[in-house]
Structure formats: C-alpha cells, structure tokens
Symmetry: C3
Subunit: 139 residues, 3 copies
C-alpha cells in the first residue's frame, strides 16, 4: 500500500461551483492505485468541497441561490466584515458544507455515482486561486 | 495494512433516516481489520450519509421536520424541477449534510460513541435502491 | 505504512468553538508519520468537528450567532426535549456540520491553510467532556 500526494490549483472568478472531477481522477491515475481511497481537501475557509449533481446546470444555480438566501450578505448582526460583505457569509457557507471528501477507488477509477461530480464551491465574489490537496492511499 | 472494499444496497421507501450501523460493522468484520478506518460513501446526489442519535426516534422525526422547513419543496425560485418538487430540495439537503464519513476501527469494532448510529438520509419520496460503498483500511 | 490511534479529551464549558489544532498535530508527531492523512472523529451527537477561520474571534462569534438563529431552541414542533431546550438543536447543528474531517500530512505537518484551525463545535450549554478519536495513517 502506498501514499501519493498532489495539489491542484483552481482559479475561481466569483461565487459558484467549479468541477474538478477530471483533475482528481488524473491524480489517481498518476498514483497508479487500483484500489483504495482519495481524500480531497481544500486549504481555505471561504470555499468548500462538495459532491453535487453534475448533469444539469440549473441544479447548481438553484443551489447557489439557496445559499444566497440562507446566509445573506447583509445580516445586521455580523461583526466580522473587514474584508467586505461576502466575508462572513463565506465562512458560514463553508462550515455548512465540507472541507474534505474521501472517495473510494476501484480498478483505478474513483467510484462516483452516475450523476456525482466533485466541485470547489467558491463563496467569495473576487477571483481567487484555490489550493486543493489530493491524497491517494491504495495499492 | 490492507484494503477491503464492499458495497451495501439500501432500499428506502420515502424520506427519512435508515440505519446501516450493523451492515457497516459486518463489512469491517469481513475485512478482519483490527485497527484502522472505514469510509462509508453514498453514490447518489439525492440522499446523504449522516451520523445521528440512534436511541430516540423522536430525535430523528424532529430532524426530518427541520429539513422540511429549511429546504421547502415549494420554493418559487427553483428551476430544476423536471423530476418533481422533491428533486431540487434533495440535492440541497445532500449538500447541507454529507456524502461520506470516515470512522475509526479499534480491536475490530467501529468506534462510535454510545448514542451514534450511521444512517442513510433519504431525501426523495419514491422508493429507491441506494448504493453505499464501504472501504476498510487497516491491519 | 502504519496506523497510529489516539484519543483526545476536550473539556467544554458551554456553546462555542474550542480549537484542537495543536493537540491533533501533537498526535501526528507521536505517530512519526511523514506523509499520509489524519482523521479526526468526535464520538458524540451533540457537538461537531469543524475547520474554521482561526485568526479573528469575531468570525467565530458570528458563526455561533448564525447557528443560534438557524436552529432556534424554542421551535414549537420539537418533540425530543427530555434533556432540555438545547438538546434537539444540538443534534441538528451536528448534522448540519461534521462528525469527522480527514486532513493531509506532508513532511510530518498537517497541511492546513494559513487561516484554518480544527475545532470542536460544542452545541450544549452545560459543561461536557468530549472524546475525539485521532487516526493517523502514513509512512
């Protein structure tokens, strides 16, 4: 059994979902692991890792709209706003979603369901470069 | 150290929590791992894996009611509704909960707390067959 | 590749975030793993593990206030209240956040981003002793 570690850089340009399924699979390919797991971890507190429906873009837009309403930018009780009105909501949206996901690998392929994709969920308005750490453990 | 992979099929009949703690432990038993971790991953975008209080059924009913109110089926801004009114809410409820959990194993037993159980959280009304991938890594 | 398992006991005194980043790193140090992952798992259903911004305490206070409002203690439809008004909200807040996180290790260090810390998120008012299981897999 071996460990293989790699990093992705994901450039985002505003709030929304950015698919990284192909990049994760390519790191698993390099690891040459036939069976095991891959852990995807994002090194930030203002974006998330989520697994989401990857076929219909309207599903992603509705998801984004839901989070806009659940964690509004203009909540009057927020005191942490030094970086702007999207700062505190970005941390809350991150906590409500995920920082890591661990996905099984079999026969060299990540075992996602038919409609599952892996996404970086960006919660900030401005462009960012996001680091994603990919750890494959397998044999 | 070894990897052991298995799948569960969980038949659901409507929204709610379906406990799979015993099935996960039985896969760990087959893996004959004394120490390590087990990762439970559900291969769908309209149901979740959650760890929840497994003693009192009223806690589960209150949880289900909370999610009905937090992500209502009749939100007027949803555009992704081709599969019915429970389609888009199911994706959102999944993103707000979890697709995978990684649980420690010691002395051959999954190390849940006294009141913890592992559940598939079904978000669709219609009956479904849900695939859960169970990966044991241990020695 | 080896597995190293350890437990932390975290004493909480009311709702809020309690940082355990240093304790997790110290367990990784003891494991003498240079590369791999560490899985942090909390063995309770009324508190969570979250990764959160660890620089500015106002961010944590705003997060706590958000959860007070999202899952109020006085929801009239709760039936699971035998342990008091903070009982059912604690389970819901736990399901909305996380029970485990898996963090990469490289060169012997957990690979958190600049602003990331690992926290126990306590959802109960009364003091509690919380058990956190730390599993290092690495080489």
């Amino acid at each position: 059994m071996r460990i293989y570690q790699d990093q992705l850089e994901v450039r985002t340009h505003g709030k929304g979902l950015y698919e990284i399924t192909g990049e994760v699979q390519s790191r698993v390919d390099r690891a040459r692991a036939q069976n095991g797991t891959v852990t995807v971890f994002v090194q930030h507190t203002s974006c998330s890792i989520v697994i989401m429906e990857n076929a219909d873009p309207t599903a992603r837009r509705d998801l984004e709209e839901f989070f806009e309403r659940l964690v509004p930018e203009d909540a009057d009780y927020f005191t942490h706003d030094s970086e702007g009105s999207d700062d505190m909501p970005s941390h809350i949206r991150m906590v409500l979603t995920r920082t890591s996901e661990t996905i099984p690998i079999m026969d060299g392929k990540i075992q996602l369901g038919t409609w599952q994709g892996i996404f970086v969920f960006e919660h900030r308005r401005a462009p960012h470069s996001r680091r994603v750490f990919v750890t494959t453990i397998g044999e």
